[in-house]
């Protein structure tokens, strides 16, 4: 068995490095603030606020919590708000963080939707949005590229084939997501299991 597996998950007591757990209002406000600062993604700001600014979690605890939220379905950062809030203050804390993260930007987004519905055909707005769209796609490509580099460096053929398979099935063939994942997830888990056993043997 590889020794790196099964990281110790128990950490019941709060170490001395922590700040005292925040109140519900403080949680709500902290998540509202990081959400409103988070242009183009909230993760960077969330980590900064939770780990560096408020010291509610250590860097390792944050990584573990985020990893959990990354492999669960749904928007990562939304999951993170619920898990993080509930770890500090129970379910009420989870709801406070969740609401803080979502309520203010949802209101802003609704206002923008109203503006768009009314002025979306105005030529200037269309041109500006077209320019922003191009840049936004560029940002997405950059994120994909950054996440891909560790996989490419390992030169793991099976992993790269899996990645390309999903890309082609969804991006080129436009197959429904559920169908693709129902096939791809078991295959990927099976392959990973077999490969780890080989490495361990």
């Amino acid at each position: 068995m590889s020794p790196d597996s099964a990281p110790a998950a128990q950490e019941p007591d709060i170490p001395a490095a922590h700040a005292p757990p925040p109140g519900l209002l403080a949680l709500f406000l902290a998540f509202a603030r990081m959400s409103l600062a988070g242009f183009g993604g909230v993760l960077v700001f969330a980590r900064h606020a939770i780990v560096d600014q408020h010291r509610w979690m250590t860097a390792e605890e944050f990584n573990e919590t985020f990893a959990l939220c990354h492999f669960l379905p749904g928007p990562n950062i939304v999951n993170l708000s619920m898990v993080f809030g509930s770890r500090l203050r129970g379910i009420a804390g989870g709801v406070a963080a969740f609401t803080g993260l979502l309520l203010p930007p949802t209101l802003i987004m609704t206002v923008l939707a109203i503006i768009y519905a009314r002025f979306g055909d105005v030529e200037v707005l269309r041109r500006i949005l077209a320019g922003i769209s191009c840049a936004a796609v560029g940002l997405l490509i950059a994120v994909v590229f950054r996440m891909m580099t560790p996989l490419l460096k390992r030169m793991d053929v099976v992993v790269i084939v899996l990645m390309l398979g999903v890309f082609v099935a969804i991006g080129v063939l436009r197959l429904p997501l559920q169908a693709v994942l129902l096939v791809a997830i078991p295959v990927s888990i099976g392959v990973t299991y077999v490969m780890r056993r080989k490495v361990a043997a």
Binding site: M109, G131, S133, A135, F167, G171
Partner: protein
């Protein structure tokens, strides 16, 4: 007109989609595009690209593109229904799983499953990029702008907001 059905269509669509959205909001974009543009005709290609741009430019989690889709379908109730349907079920799931996992003596399965999902989620995000690029980059200059932003954002730590604003300025000037 049945005023109830669009809301339920939004709730069931996004509630189900969120449960399959492994790898975050960006990975779910192709599916949102397929449902909103191809299946239900809630939006045109252009409207969807605009919604993506607005969601990127606005603060908050990028998943809130669903708020814009919901508004296009059924106004403010649609916006709220779509947002909650996309965010709440998986957040509750995450809460329960996190409580389960915080018990000691866990197996190596969580780590293994997580490793197995990484290539899939990156493949999904790459597919999002392709689909969005096909609907936005219709001219050579637009393609060039996308490529330039991709390169700059890959090699520097510049705040993404500046790149989005630069894109908006170029659009305003009528260059893109």
């Amino acid at each position: 007109m049945n005023s109830e059905s669009p809301i339920w269509a939004l709730i069931s669509t996004f509630g189900l989609m969120s449960l399959f959205a492994v790898g975050g909001a960006a990975a779910a974009v192709p599916e949102m595009h397929r449902i909103a543009v191809d299946v239900h005709h809630w939006m045109t290609e252009k409207q969807f690209a605009d919604a993506y741009a607005i969601a990127q430019l606005s603060p908050g989690p990028n998943v809130l593109i669903v708020t814009l889709i919901g508004y296009a379908v059924a106004g403010i109730p649609g916006a709220l229904a779509a947002t909650l349907a996309m965010c709440l079920p998986t957040a509750l799931l995450a809460y329960y799983v996190s409580r389960l996992l915080s018990r000691p003596s866990q197996s190596r399965w969580p780590a293994l499953i997580q490793a197995a999902l990484v290539p899939l989620s990156i493949g999904l995000m790459a597919a999002s990029a392709l689909i969005l690029a096909q609907s936005t980059d219709r001219t050579f200059v637009a393609l060039l702008l996308t490529a330039a932003v991709a390169v700059v954002a890959s090699i520097s730590r510049i705040n993404p907001l500046w790149l989005l604003l630069a894109g908006g300025l170029l659009g305003f000037a009528g260059i893109v």
